[in-house]
Symmetry: C2
Subunit: 469 residues, 2 copies
């Protein structure tokens, strides 16, 4: 009796089976080509690596005419055959088929949205449930997974504890942007208070609740107990930004480190990014090769250069001087006090430093209330990490650990202490200098893959007027 | 010049520094004891392992009287000293202090909610921002992290691709429970259609949207392209269940496997659970030791027994017979067609099989529309994994891959095909048998730690009328 030996295509192609052994692979037909001699060459893809495997089907098989010759792109098959060295170029192994079973047909080949010819990336967004079957979105999925696993591995190996920050929150103090409301109230019949306003006491949580914009404040509580933590989960912005860089729902990594200052987390950011890029270069060179051929030919060299570069560091105030002296005509005029815009960031990273650069110590008025006040009383200990060809990829800060300074900043911003007393407690009881940053994971995937639109690096993107699937 | 050599407490205690070397540790004071001879013994905790390190402070230090003798629980300190073998019982190493710096005082020791004496677990929930400073919640955080990392590692090593399922969804077809609405409409001024109903076209996504109850349907789309995937993210239930087993927001792992049937995922579930429990036993024996002393003395033996057990497998129909013949008086009467309740599940796992048990092939009417119809046309290929002392921990199924059967089930349930055409497409184009399961991560943490209430194993629990911090 034959023993079925199911193998991922990746294992067969990468030589984990000896030549001559019979194996079974399962996947979807990418293409079929029939020779005049009565042999069919079928490319079978199973997602385990970029390449499909070529399986060679002789016409002697029972179902050759009735089934094999009817196979089209997208049909699912189970193929058993002997591993042989490939005569085709580029591939190490192929299968000499002894049995091919059609598992699922494409019921109507004319309507199948994933025909063999290449589709526009915009069209693929319309069929997000089928687009992982394409070369490009399959490669994105594998690279995204590789980066995700690398980030967890990095933090785990360095003694950080993953903390799940809550997504539903009653706190809207960070003020980084518009929030989505979460509610179980009946919209057609809202309960009202005696004053005629909506009675949130009747809502599920007994008060107004929203989707979080950041897990940072929660992570701080854990860092002030366990020293090294990070969150990694979805965060939300209800901003009406229909751009190629924004999502309403995106994944964010936020490490938080006790007994640490701005320099510590600048180092952490550099260390982490290089670790992640190294992992992708080592583990997903097949997919990167594809991206460099089809999407952005510079992609591999860019990652290698990033890894080899020492990050530049510069104060905001000096960055403003550089921009002013650049001789450049910027769309947004440069003055001390402005928030750097993308053109400024890219000038610094791409043209001036030609390397990733950490800009530090921003004017207090353009940064969040929790950033630590510097001795000059004008700037706070925030940082942005700018990378060539994408701009800001990380934003972080040393947190204000002194209660009086924090309270003063909160008063400036009109944040009432009572709403955030728990956060103040962290400063009242055994306060420590601490710092952390936030990294938009999806944006980092666009950087690594060269994909131009962030909606193409997350499986089912959410953006204004778009929440399909 | 002295080189600062910061070390996690875990590294010092576990012998990663040679005796005689000078190191610096940083953390929070757990306790202070002063000997008559003018020596203070301070336990310093930094979260890197269960034990604090004992640091021995001689009165000769400059700040001994002014600072050391004023140290209380919760103060943050930076301590430099020589590693010496400990004379105290149980600990391998302690520090002979040469310098101790107080980083942050407890500003008002009388109001500090985390005084040294033990607190009730209910009280700790009120101070969720400080409770990670306690033995029990610190241990939960480390075990939770260990389990989380083990799950990712397991799937990565087995070739699964992590897929981020969307949290905001317009689909409410699964019907597993009440959902939270997500909206940016102004509640005080809702836009209305010409018919006088709420105009969701004006909402952020241009239609009604909710928080997801499961990433399964999305994961299926990716499994039907990449073969082996999993999601791991927050999911939501707006049920008014104020129990020790329910959260409104919880984390769920959902692997989905193409070319797989019910037996394949039953094996996957067994394999995965044992891998996770093994990781905890190997990596967090310090924390498990604590749980077995304070929370549930049976905990370690239970995990070991779980790992050694072969899972029992039984059909629902046979399980009903066993329950009927048990001679037990159950609160909920047993008849073919009922959903098993906790008392039934625990009888099967704890008393009848005395092992984890997979119950399979449930009556179709009590299970979701997407489960595969069996040949008897009465049952579907669903499974529940029941564990001794907790009951159901995993629910899964083989998915209906035949379009006609799926459509028939949808008609039975009143689900309109047009709402879920994308899901039907997966059956129209190269359909494959596929299967997956869902594991409530937080509930699994209660199982491993022995913690009685699920609100104590997630940092900031969300439940009816409770969304603090």
């Amino acid at each position: 009796m034959q023993i079925m030996n199911y193998m991922p295509v990746a294992d067969v192609l990468h030589g984990k089976t000896a030549v001559g052994v019979e194996v079974t692979v399962r996947g979807w037909v990418r293409s079929r080509r029939d020779s005049k001699a009565g042999i069919s060459f079928i490319a079978v893809y199973d997602g385990s690596c970029f390449e499909p495997i070529q399986v060679v089907v002789p016409r002697e098989l029972n179902n050759y005419k009735e089934e094999v010759l009817r196979l089209t792109t997208g049909c699912s098959v189970e193929v058993t055959g002997k591993v042989v060295g490939s005569l085709g170029q580029g591939q190490a192994s192929e299968l000499q088929v002894t049995c091919i079973k059609v598992v699922g047909w494409v019921v109507d080949t004319d309507t199948y949205p994933m025909a063999k010819t290449r589709h526009s990336i915009e069209y693929l967004r319309e069929v997000a449930h089928l687009r992982p079957r394409t070369n490009v979105i399959g490669a994105v999925a594998r690279v995204r997974n590789c980066m995700y696993q690398a980030i967890h591995r990095f933090f785990y190996e360095h003694g950080y504890i993953w903390v799940s920050a809550p997504l539903i929150t009653a706190s809207d103090t960070e003020g980084v942007g518009e929030m989505f409301r979460v509610s179980t109230l009946d919209f057609e019949n809202l309960p009202l208070t005696s004053k005629g306003t909506v009675d949130y006491n009747e809502d599920f949580f007994g008060k107004e609740t929203f989707l979080t914009v950041s897990g940072q404040l929660n992570a701080e509580a854990y860092a002030c107990a366990l020293s090294k933590v990070y969150t990694f989960g979805p965060t939300f912005r209800a901003e009406n930004s229909n751009t190629s860089r924004h999502l309403a729902e995106f994944w964010m990594v936020e490490p938080e480190l006790a007994f640490a200052d701005l320099n510590d987390i600048a180092k952490l950011a550099e260390h982490m990014l290089k670790y992640v890029f190294n992992s992708v270069l080592q583990q997903r060179c097949d997919d990167l090769e594809f991206f460099s051929q089809r999407i952005d030919k510079d992609i591999i060299r860019r990652l290698q250069k990033f890894i080899e570069s020492d990050f530049a560091q510069i104060d905001y105030t000096d960055a403003i001087k550089i921009l002013k002296n650049s001789g450049r005509e910027f769309k947004f005029p440069v003055n001390w006090g402005i928030d750097l815009s993308s053109e400024h960031e890219r000038y610094l990273a791409e043209e001036y430093f030609k390397a990733p650069v950490v800009v530090k110590n921003f004017p207090k008025d353009i940064k969040a209330f929790y950033m630590r006040m510097n001795d000059d009383c004008k700037t706070v200990a925030g940082m942005d990490v700018l990378a060539p060809s994408i701009g800001e990829i990380i934003g972080g800060s040393q947190r204000e650990e002194r209660l009086e300074s924090l309270d003063a900043r909160m008063r400036e911003r009109g944040i009432e202490a009572e709403h955030i007393n728990w956060y103040r407690d962290l400063r009242r009881y055994g306060t420590v200098p601490h710092a952390g940053f936030g990294l938009g994971f999806d944006r980092l995937v666009t950087y690594v893959t060269g994909m131009g639109n962030i909606r193409d690096v997350i499986p089912f993107p959410r953006s204004p007027r778009s929440a399909n699937f």
